[in-house]
Symmetry: C2
């Protein structure tokens, strides 16, 4: 049985807001970079899968940050895969400061797709093949929650430009999160309260499309819906501060 | 006499476009992070200056990239200060791949400002104090060029949002560069030709302002002007592919 893997990061000046603490997107980026680096290092990264015309696609992710570390603070991201379902594999993350204090965690669910058909591949075989990569530690937070209906009170348009897209010409995950959170009051985004963010990726958005980004603000959080075509959700998200 | 300092980077998946080569903004970010890390490490970073209510402000920068390194490629950024003028200090950069081949360079000019008055401080004293940080190697490229008049054929509006701003609540340098380059044809941005980008920072833009980003497209490049108020340039830039 393998153990979780550890990756270290430092909060750089470009990661902080005017509170001099790491932003939610900066911490989210560290989590996603950890997923990429760990899969790459273990030989089942996007680059290795592409050789078989397969790729990982992030389906859902939930982040919880109890606090946001300050500038120049070192922190650790532990990651492990806890299970392979038929369609989704679950990768977990725990964020810990230099004194060993856990301040954040994330649970992500990934599908493997065939790049030719863009349909999901049954992971049962992959699960058997990579059984030795599964770590028997429970998920560190509630799995990503379902987000059903969103009734936006505010909608902005966002043309997808070059700096939004990834190696696949799709809008990159962190840009979706930024464009949604940017609709919230800055007092919330810079708050020192603990926060949970759930994101569902339903459809891929591409260079040249114009997205509508809708926000339904609630008492201590908000629901979001991003559409490239009217009424067809591409991304949904929920954020809540405690 | 001190030598130049070296910092190593790797082209990560989030740094590349669909050509699987590092984007111009990703290479530009590495250059700027190098400036911040080197100043911080030598004790005259923004954090140290803030204690005296001073700060470094980037006035002009020119980047030249002969080629863009591929995903997972390691590269080195050498940096040194070549001179202190009365108002501007010059920090230089050379980018080299793992085989020692130089593929890029940058020349940046920084002013020190008093945060209370936001006016420039005479650097003569700073130059004497930090004379041992000056390295006697000539600038590796032509200094940032003057950009006078821009006659935009295309203008887009950009409200300044939370994800655009830095620790100072000003729009961060790389976001300006992204919002300007995003107005160009994607074929140019993903081209393998060598490129030079000159940027002048004239006024600071803040959270809550709405910027107009204008582009005057030319045969092999473009001029840009970003304004927060009509007719008053906050940033000007010029890009040209060879």
């Amino acid at each position: 049985m393998v153990a979780e893997s550890h990756y270290t990061y430092r909060v750089e000046p470009q990661d902080v807001d005017f509170t001099l603490r790491a932003t939610i997107p900066a911490l989210g980026a560290a989590v996603l970079n950890t997923a990429g680096a760990d899969a790459h290092g273990k030989g089942f990264g996007v680059d290795a899968l592409n050789a078989a015309n397969h790729s990982w696609v992030l389906s859902r992710i939930a982040f919880e940050f109890d606090s946001r570390p300050g500038q120049y603070v070192d922190y650790d991201v532990a990651t492990w895969i806890s299970d392979y379902g038929r369609v989704l594999s679950t990768r977990n993350f725990v964020l810990t400061d230099a004194r060993g204090h856990e301040f954040g965690r994330a649970v992500s669910q990934w599908a493997m797709i065939d790049l030719a058909t863009r349909s999901a591949i049954d992971l049962s075989g992959v699960g058997r093949e990579h059984a030795d990569a599964v770590v028997d530690i429970p998920v560190p937070a509630e799995r990503p929650r379902k987000i059903r209906e969103v009734h936006p009170g505010k909608v902005v348009e966002h043309p997808v430009v070059y700096s939004d897209i990834d190696f696949n010409c799709h809008v990159n995950t962190m840009r979706y999160i930024e464009m949604m959170l940017d609709l919230l009051p800055i007092e919330w985004l810079t708050s020192e309260e603990s926060v949970r963010l759930d994101v569902h990726f339903l459809r891929e958005c591409r260079y040249g499309q114009t997205l509508s980004v809708g926000c339904e603000q609630q008492e201590r959080g908000a629901l979001f819906e991003v559409c490239a075509e009217p009424g067809i959700a591409a991304v949904r998200a929920a954020v809540v501060w405690k």
